[in-house]
């Protein structure tokens, strides 16, 4: 009897030991998970893709009531603003008709110039519309879950647009669902240019609704209301995609109001510009874009300093 009680006692002690230290072990495990996640290993990415695939239908089903409620609220708001909206649209329509005539004229001229220059246009973009099924992240991340994955030819790095402008880029691809990193996310870096002045900069997300412009050349004129479009540098995105508009310029901090409306995103367009192979990973691309902007800023500064500094005096011995 006595010999039979010893293993039971050991088991009890071991169990108490495990229970006592399991909590500490779980805290350490969570910390390790953070470090592994930071390393962005293939394993973590695969886990995220698998969970996205599995959860996309559930998240979509759960989002539907919120969507229906939002639709009702939108309808009520639209009805209240019907008259004002009608007048605004009439004005806008008249303005757009004038722009259409100008655009047609430019199109004809462009066609003629291109034929004269033997211009080779970039490859045609292919795109398809996808439903947004999830929007999450809170203060620590800004991302979307879309209902299309590798089976729908979605690939990492593809641009995602809404009717208004740039939404973000695909960062994880599952079989049936993918995750889109929004341009407002703290990890997002997009090479942009101010449409009117052609000033180059990097749009850096900061997990707020208004990302910042960084690496703006010294002395560049930036004013609220200036339109921001993709520059096409780094080869990840084509130039000219509308991104947003400068909302404020205060103490060297330039904020951009994106054109996309995160809360109203139901359908987005995933666009393949045929720029394959250039984008190894988001981080590589961001680093390349930042390095390029930094290099250019340094070169401009160097040139300016050389221009500003007085010419060196000639050696006395050379004077007659």
């Amino acid at each position: 009897m006595k010999s039979g009680a010893v293993p039971g006692g050991r088991w009890q002690t071991a169990r108490q030991f495990v229970q006592r230290f399991a909590s500490v072990a779980l805290v350490i495990l969570a910390f390790v998970a953070m470090l592994v996640g930071k390393a962005d290993t293939v394993l973590v990415e695969r886990a995220r893709s698998v969970v996205a695939d599995l959860m996309a239908p559930v998240v979509r089903a759960l989002s539907q009531p919120a969507g229906a409620l939002s639709e009702v609220a939108d309808n009520i708001r639209d009805l209240a603003n019907l008259r004002a909206e009608n007048a605004r649209l009439r004005d806008e329509n008249a303005q757009l008709l004038r722009w259409r005539d100008v655009a047609r004229q430019f199109e004809a001229e462009n066609r003629e110039f291109r034929s004269l220059l033997d211009y080779r246009p970039p490859p045609e973009a292919t795109s398809f519309s996808v439903r947004v099924v999830g929007d999450s992240g809170g203060a620590f991340a800004h991302s979307l879950l879309i209902a299309a994955g590798s089976r729908d030819t979605v690939r990492k790095g593809m641009a995602v647009l809404s009717g208004e402008g740039m939404v973000g880029r695909v960062v994880q691809v599952g079989h049936r669902a993918s995750r889109v990193l929004l341009i407002t996310d703290i990890n997002s870096r997009i090479p942009v240019v101010l449409e009117t002045t052609r000033t180059r900069a990097i749009l850096a997300g900061n997990n707020t609704d208004k990302p910042r412009l960084i690496f703006v050349p010294a002395g560049a004129r930036v004013s609220p209301g200036d339109r921001v479009v993709t520059s096409g540098h780094s080869g990840a995105l084509p130039p000219g995609l509308p991104v947003g508009v400068i909302s404020s310029v205060e103490d060297q901090v330039i904020r951009v109001q994106p054109f996309m409306d995160r809360e109203r995103l139901e359908l987005v367009r995933v666009v393949d510009y045929g720029l394959n192979g250039i984008l190894g990973s988001l981080d590589d691309e961001s680093r390349t874009a930042q390095a390029q902007a930094l290099k250019e800023a340094r070169e401009r500064g160097k040139a300016r300093r050389q221009k500003d500094s007085p010419a060196p005096a000639a050696p006395e011995a050379a004077q007659p």
Binding site: A30, G37, V51, V59, G134, D135, A139, A141, S143, E263
Partner: protein
Amino acid sequence: MIIEKTFGEKLAAVLRQILPTGIALASAVFMGTQTRVPGLASVLPDLPLIVVYYWSVVRPQSLGAGSAFAIGILQDLVTGLPLGLSAMALVATRIVIARQSRFFIGKSFWVYWWGYAVVVLAVGLGQWLLALVVLGLKAPILQVLAAAVLGFGVFPLVYWLCDRIERHVLAED
């Protein structure tokens, strides 16, 4: 006299046992949904935190630290948050609150509510600090605080739902 339980009774008992974890898992998946409310996505209250806090106070044995860890990892994967951030918050909450569960015995709802206020603030600031130090991610502190305030605001609703379930479904245990 030993009364043999039927299969249905055994199944119901198992379901009752896993119900708290199930509710917390559902709330973690819910965090990934699209709310369509302007500005809410950035300051969405942490619902799994409320659920884990509730069960840690009311029935610590029904939701273990291992379950809290799994729920946190699922939340991170579904919402695209840095891996481990929610897991750390939920595990820490479970451990600390379960150890203080004697303090909560027989206390009113108001004590639970103010207890949660301390937890949500500590978790928010802790997550912000962890993200900054470990991940080099400087999240907007005002949004973190706004999410904590909203969490404090929705606590009574989640508490009421969990309390109904506890009284009507789990009380038999």
